[in-house]
């Protein structure tokens, strides 16, 4: 199963990005890692070029807040993205915030799985569960 991943916006947390890449590979995914400082359009374009099933965006410095709002508008421009699973994880707000507020907000942006300050393996477990629910694995 193909996953496109990377760190969104002006965010250079390369270690976290590398760990996500390695963890996904260890779980048997084919990973297309766009690295740090990635624009939203590049994520969607990479999904199109690779035929990926999953888009996993990470954010450590809270920039996801701003980019997330752009997701519905940008995704609507694409004609082949209806079936992808969209996941976002990391530190999803600037400053502090609680998951009860943050998760619904990001789900409203179109993400299927939202992991705010959640351990990486726990987050990837929830991805596996969703794949099972959708009979994709």
């Amino acid at each position: 199963m193909k996953v496109v991943t990377g760190v969104v916006g002006n965010d250079i947390h390369v270690v976290a990005n590398r760990l996500i890449d390695l963890s996904l590979q260890a779980r048997g995914y084919e990973v297309f890692n766009l690295g740090v400082n990635t624009y939203l359009e590049e994520f969607f374009d990479a999904v199109i070029e690779t035929g990926a099933d999953i888009l996993l965006i990470s954010s450590l410095n809270g920039e996801a807040e701003g980019w997330g709002r752009e997701v519905p508008r940008l995704k609507a421009k694409y004609k082949k993205l209806d079936d992808i699973i969209m996941m976002i994880g990391g530190n999803l707000v600037v400053g502090t915030g609680n998951a009860e507020d943050i998760i619904p907000r990001y789900k409203g942006y179109g993400f299927d799985i939202v992991c705010h300050q959640v351990d990486l393996n726990t987050g990837l477990d929830s991805l596996e569960e969703m794949l099972k629910e959708r009979n994709l694995k």
């Binding site: 297309f32 969607f44 990479a46 199109i48 070029e49 035929g51």
Partner: protein
């Protein structure tokens, strides 16, 4: 029959002196070991007639094997690229096309192909690209319908291997080359670049005006931007240029920009140190009207005109002053187009630029001070910065000479 040689002939031949000729859309230039001359073209004559009329004596001094010609006057190949995304397939194919010397490029995002009008003019080459090799069904019927309505001379597919059988079954005479996107989403340039460069060479050789020039040379005629691009790694041998730099070649019909790769944050990973970008309707002679149109649509141009102490009436004038202003405007517009102020094919990190190198006809019209005046206006107004890169004028066409000599040495 033996030919009587003049003493001058002997000098040229003994020292293996070369005559380098560059044919542009507005001027042609000749360079020998000691001198460079430039002539405005007479558009009522063929290039060869014009050249022999103005420089016949000089050309006769040389053997055909010692004359090397490059040209950017053939108009270039018209290229249409159909790709599945802006960030990868279209961007990569456009990058390869520019670096192969091609000037005229239009792009189509495949998912919206039905919304694009079909160009009525003949397209020299259509490039179809999309998907890594493990992805499939990147294209559908709408592509074939579009191509059926399009007139083109060549079509090349450089997308996913899995799509090749369908593409071959539906597009007659399609040339299939290796995918330009690898499995890590990186660019693979070589095959498409070689294909386009050859096509471009054939096009140059096929144009009647250029074909005539083989009467005076035994050597292959190259495209000028290709020659200039080859020079850039050696530019420091002629000028105090510090990397990263931007080279602007503002010509009569188009403006060519060559830039250090350090100036872009790109997903394009190549072996080239320098990339090339072309603005096809930005020139100070053949494209003058579109330059003025672009200027009038730029919100800062009136401030710039005030800064230069002229009014917009200058656009209607035919004077040295008007030419100067037009060239200063061209510099400003080009900088706007490659900055973050305007979203273009590339946005360069202009605050990191150490040197601006200007070549082409502009170097005969503007002084370093006049150029620096515009550059600093741009930095203050658009980038809100006091950054002040060094301006270098290639006013003796050393960049072209260096490239042409290097090209000749490589043969």
């Amino acid at each position: 029959m033996s030919q009587i040689e003049s003493p001058d002939d002997n000098i040229a031949k003994d020292k293996q002196e070369k005559l380098l000729i560059d044919v542009g859309s507005t001027y042609f230039k000749l360079s020998n070991k000691t001198n460079i001359e430039q002539h405005f073209r007479d558009f009522n004559k063929s290039i060869l007639d014009d050249l022999t009329h103005k420089c016949g004596q000089e050309i006769e001094r040389f053997d055909k094997k010692d004359i090397h010609i490059c040209s950017s006057a053939n108009g270039g190949l018209s290229t249409l690229i159909i790709g599945v995304t802006h960030s990868f397939s279209l961007k990569y194919a456009t990058n390869i096309a520019f670096n192969s010397g091609i000037n005229i490029i239009d792009t189509i995002l495949f998912q919206n192909i039905e919304e694009y009008s079909v160009p009525s003019d003949l397209i020299d080459v259509v490039i179809i690209v999309g998907g890594i090799n493990s992805s499939s069904d990147n294209f559908s019927e709408s592509l074939y319908r579009y191509l059926n309505n399009l007139t083109y001379s060549n079509v090349v597919f450089v997308g996913s291997e899995l799509d090749v059988p369908t593409i071959k079954a539906n597009i007659e005479n399609v040339v299939v080359l290796p995918n330009i996107i690898d499995d890590r989403l990186h660019i693979v340039e070589d095959s498409l670049k070689a294909y386009l460069t050859n096509l471009y060479q054939q096009d140059i050789e096929g144009k009647e005006d250029i074909k005539d020039l083989y009467n005076i040379t035994d050597n292959q005629i190259f495209s000028t931007p290709y020659v200039v691009n080859k020079t850039l790694p050696f530019i420091h041998t002629k000028y105090p240029v510090v990397n990263p730099f931007v080279l602007l070649d503002i010509g009569g019909a188009t403006t060519d920009i060559h830039y250090s790769k350090d100036l872009v944050d790109e997903n394009i990973v190549t072996n080239n140190e320098y990339d090339r970008l072309v603005f096809k309707k930005l020139g100070v002679y053949k494209s003058k009207q579109s330059l003025i149109f672009a200027a009038k649509n730029n919100e800062f141009v009136y401030e710039l005109l005030m800064h230069l102490k002229v009014t917009e009436n200058i656009f209607e004038e035919q004077s040295n002053k008007a030419t100067k202003v037009l060239m200063q405007l061209a510099i400003f517009l080009v900088l706007c187009k490659i900055s973050h102020y305007k979203k273009a094919y590339v946005n360069l990190k202009l605050l990191s630029v150490n040197s601006f190198v200007l070549t082409g006809g502009i170097t005969k019209v503007l002084t370093v001070e006049e150029i620096e005046n515009i550059v600093s206006f741009f930095y203050k107004k658009i980038l809100n910065s006091e950054h002040n890169p060094v301006t270098v004028l290639d006013n003796n066409y050393d960049i072209w000479t260096l490239g042409a000599e290097g090209k000749e040495r490589c043969q």
